[in-house]
């Protein structure tokens, strides 16, 4: 086989192959219009190569003429597809110029089939064989047809169109595409057109071989497209990795949400539940698939629903992660309508669906229960130490009870005697009975106060005047203090605000502090055993201070408040520990400090209740 045949077949073959490949790419990817225009360009180039080979091997002028007429068809297709490629792939070029190219070329194609033998020649006079690549090929001799200027005009317009598009692409910053496609296209169209024009007008004796130059364009385009292909393969790879990564992340998220020991509920801004974990479903007593899609308010007890909905819109107005209902006790509602105490953290989560709310829900029933149990133990211990403290008072209290009983007995026996007289002294008996009633009341009061302190009542919080509490305790401790020759001075603030507290427990605290102070003065000389009780208010706080002039505090006063710490031979060592826990449970504090002159001073402070408006 000759070189010419081999080269032109290879050119055609290569073009067709590339065309088919990119056509197949387009089949799989219908949006890739660049590929289809390229496929058409490649196939058209292959067609031109076929027609050129036909012309070079033409046996007669007529055959050459026919071949030259048909070569206009692939040329037409090629020019149109180049215009299309530039528009689609480079997204550049003026539309009117594109349509002008197409229009002019179409006219030239029509003229080609009107003229005989073709657009290029008015008549072909003969064939002249010349040597080309070591082979004899046919060139033509004849009269050129001036109408072929129209075809050549279309090429000039094509060049203008491509140059314009290339400049635009370059300006857009896509320098690589401008050079690779635009520059190559201009360069090879110019060469192909030049070679054909020179031969057709008879300036050179050479076969017409534009397909060789167009092959250059096709290769440049193929190179560019294959880069795209490679890039998309790489992107596909990355995408796959991304997807795998995303899936992994999703799995991790799902697993960690699922493994959370707390309930997790994800809801959207409208309060519709999008996702829950198993713990949440179990907590609320719903089958999982049933809970998704419910309104979040279904999980809130009826009485809070209205407030919850408005709080929810408030949250979406300013979404920040925080604990829900700070400072309030929250309750959630199970499917069966029962309620349980919860703690909830809410977090805004930005997503494609808008701001979602991720709620972390902790069921604190068991914590509440153990708190209640601890409270019960504490109360029991408080009661126990109260009883112990009162047993210290028992001697003096017995006296306090004995005295009225003695008076009652003697009075009653006097009355018996008076009634036995004739005549009975009824006036005196009346006086006696009045005294008996008064003494009985006195005894009853002592017993009542004792019973209050001894019983294990419910701990109740009520507004309380601490001055009264102190007076009640002093009344109870009076005989004991008197027996120890302790004098009590009070400086009680008459305008003291009330506090919220349990009367019995606060009495216990005051009693304990007073008895401790009394004990601290056991070694004092008689006449120097002075106990001072002071109440004062400041900054919304009520303070009670009990001061003694006794032996003072240990070096580390805090150890006084440790359980089982005692300085007394028979002490349980729980008194002050319990006092501190009682005051702590009331939201206050209790501490001790040495008095600058002598002895110790114990203070406790509680929050004052707002004074009711006068």
């Amino acid at each position: 086989m000759s070189w010419v045949t081999a080269i032109w077949f290879m050119t055609a073959g290569a073009c067709l192959t590339l065309g088919v490949v990119h056509f197949l790419v387009w089949c799989g990817q219908r949006a890739a219009w660049g590929n289809v225009f390229f496929a058409i360009s490649a196939v058209a180039t292959g067609g031109m190569a076929g027609c050129e080979l036909w012309m070079m091997h033409a046996e007669s002028p007529i055959e050459w003429g026919v071949a030259a007429r048909w070569i206009h068809v692939p040329a037409y297709v090629l020019i149109l597809s180049l215009v299309g490629f530039v528009r689609v792939y480079l997204r550049a070029g003026r539309v009117w110029l594109a349509w002008t190219v197409v229009g002019v070329r179409t006219v030239s194609l029509l003229l080609n089939f009107l003229f005989t033998p073709n657009l290029n020649f008015r008549e072909i006079t003969g064939l002249r064989p010349i040597s080309f690549l070591g082979e004899s090929v046919a060139t033509v001799v004849g009269v050129p047809n001036p109408w072929m200027l129209i075809a050549q005009l279309s090429l000039v317009l094509l060049l203008a169109f491509v140059v314009d598009a290339t400049v635009a692409v370059w300006r857009r910053g896509e320098h690589r595409a401008a050079v690779q496609i635009g520059f190559n296209m201009v360069f090879f169209v110019f060469l192909a057109s030049g070679q054909a024009i020179l031969s057709l007008w008879g300036f050179t004796q050479a076969p017409i071989i534009p397909s060789v130059f167009y092959l250059g364009i096709v290769l440049a385009m193929a190179y560019e497209l294959s880069r795209d292909l490679l890039r998309s393969v790489r992107m596909a790879e990355e995408l796959r990795e991304n997807i795998a990564l995303q899936k992994q992340m999703q799995d991790r998220f799902r697993l960690s949400v699922e493994a959370s020991p707390n309930g997790v509920v994800l809801a959207n801004a409208e309060g519709c539940i999008l996702l829950v974990n198993g713990r949440a479903a179990q907590m609320f007593g719903y089958p999982r698939e049933e809970i998704v899609g419910l309104g979040i308010e279904s999980l809130v007890p009826e009485r809070f629903r209205g407030a919850h909905a408005s709080l929810r819109s408030g949250f979406h107005a300013a979404p920040t992660a925080r604990a829900m209902g700070a400072g309030r006790e929250l309750f959630a509602r199970r499917k069966d309508g029962s309620e349980f105490p919860v703690e909830i953290g809410i977090n805004p989560v930005d997503s494609a669906e808008g701001t979602l709310v991720l709620s972390i829900i902790v069921d604190i029933s068991s914590r509440r229960q153990s708190e209640a149990e601890a409270q019960e133990l504490r109360d029991e211990l408080a009661h126990l130490t109260r009883v112990t403290t009162l047993s210290e008072l028992s001697g003096s209290l017995a006296h306090e009870l004995n005295q009225p009983l003695a008076i009652i007995l003697s009075n009653a026996q006097a009355a018996q005697r008076l009634l036995a007289q004739t005549p009975p002294d009824c006036a005196e008996v009346r006086d006696i009975l009045a005294d008996i009633v008064a003494e009985d009341r006195r005894a009853g009061e002592v017993i009542q106060r004792l019973r209050t302190l001894l019983k294990r009542g419910e701990i109740t919080r009520a507004p309380l005047a601490l001055n009264e509490t102190i007076e009640e305790v002093l009344l109870l401790a009076r005989p004991n203090l008197a027996g120890r020759e302790i004098t009590v001075t009070r400086a009680l603030d008459a305008g003291l605000p009330q506090v919220s507290g349990d009367r019995v427990q606060l009495q216990q605290v005051v009693l304990n502090l007073i008895l401790n102070s009394a004990d601290a003065m056991a070694a004092n000389a008689p006449g120097t055993r002075r106990l001072h009780v002071v109440t004062a208010r400041r900054d919304g706080v009520v303070r009670v201070s009990v001061r003694d002039e006794g032996c003072g505090l240990p070096a580390e006063p805090e150890q006084l408040f440790a359980p089982f710490f005692t300085t007394k031979p028979h002490g349980l060592g729980m008194g002050l520990a319990i006092c501190r826990s009682i005051v702590g449970a009331h939201g206050g504090r209790l501490w001790a400090e040495p008095h600058p002159e002598r002895g110790a001073i114990f203070h406790f402070e509680l929050a004052a209740l707002p004074t009711p408006a006068a």
Binding site: S410, N411, A414, A415
Partner: protein, 209 residues
């Protein structure tokens, strides 16, 4: 000697108790004077008054036991019945040892209290009678002449008339006369009675006998 009717003195710091005891004792027909404190009692008590003291132990300032000590120190012989709200054994032993008639705890039964008061009043009466007898003897002794007192002192010391006469440098006959006068003035029948009277008057032995 102001009055013969016995008076019960009640000392208790508790007004109600004072009142009740006063009523009880008055109903029993006993005269009562009540005092709110030991000091009040000491300021107003007249030693010669007959009667007894019902005393509360637990009182501020001066308590019952302390008052008992003061009374003893003052040489008063008023019998004391103690009353206490919370007495213990050592306290009661101390009170009884110091001469208290009884130690009762409140509430006190009227029968117990009245029995104790009666005992106390009896004791007071006895003591008063003794005191009266001693006063009589003292008056009689005071009526003796100095020579008769010298003779009496030696007679009760067991000296014979002859020895006394020698001691005093006079005749035995004179001593016999003095001795008869002494027996008469002292209102005694026998030497034994005279010795007892001398003991009660605590007449000392003459020096050198």
């Amino acid at each position: 000697m102001t009055t013969d009717a016995p008076i019960v003195h009640v000392v208790d710091d508790e007004a109600g108790m004072r009142q009740a005891l006063t009523r009880l004792l008055r109903a029993e027909g006993v005269d009562v004077r009540a005092f709110a404190s030991a000091r009040e009692f000491l300021a107003d008590y007249r030693a010669a008054e007959s009667g007894c003291l019902v005393l509360d132990v637990g009182m501020p300032e001066l308590d019952g036991l302390e008052l008992q000590r003061r009374i003893t120190r003052l040489g008063l012989t008023v019998p004391i019945v103690f009353l206490t709200g919370h007495g213990d054994i050592p306290m009661s032993v101390r009170a009884i040892k110091s001469g208290a008639v009884d130690f009762l705890t409140k509430p006190v039964n009227d029968a117990d209290l009245l029995r104790a008061i009666r005992t106390a009043l009896q004791l007071a009466a006895t003591r008063r009678a003794e005191q009266a007898a001693t006063a009589d003897l003292r008056a009689r002794h005071a009526s003796l002449t100095p020579r008769e007192r010298e003779v009496m002192a030696r007679v009760v010391a067991g000296r014979l008339n002859k020895q006394i006469a020698a001691d005093l440098g006079t005749g035995e006959q004179n001593i016999k006369i003095h001795r008869g006068r002494v027996m008469e003035k002292m209102g005694v029948q026998s030497l034994a009675d005279l010795v007892r009277a001398a003991e009660r008057l605590a007449i000392e032995k003459p020096p050198g006998v």
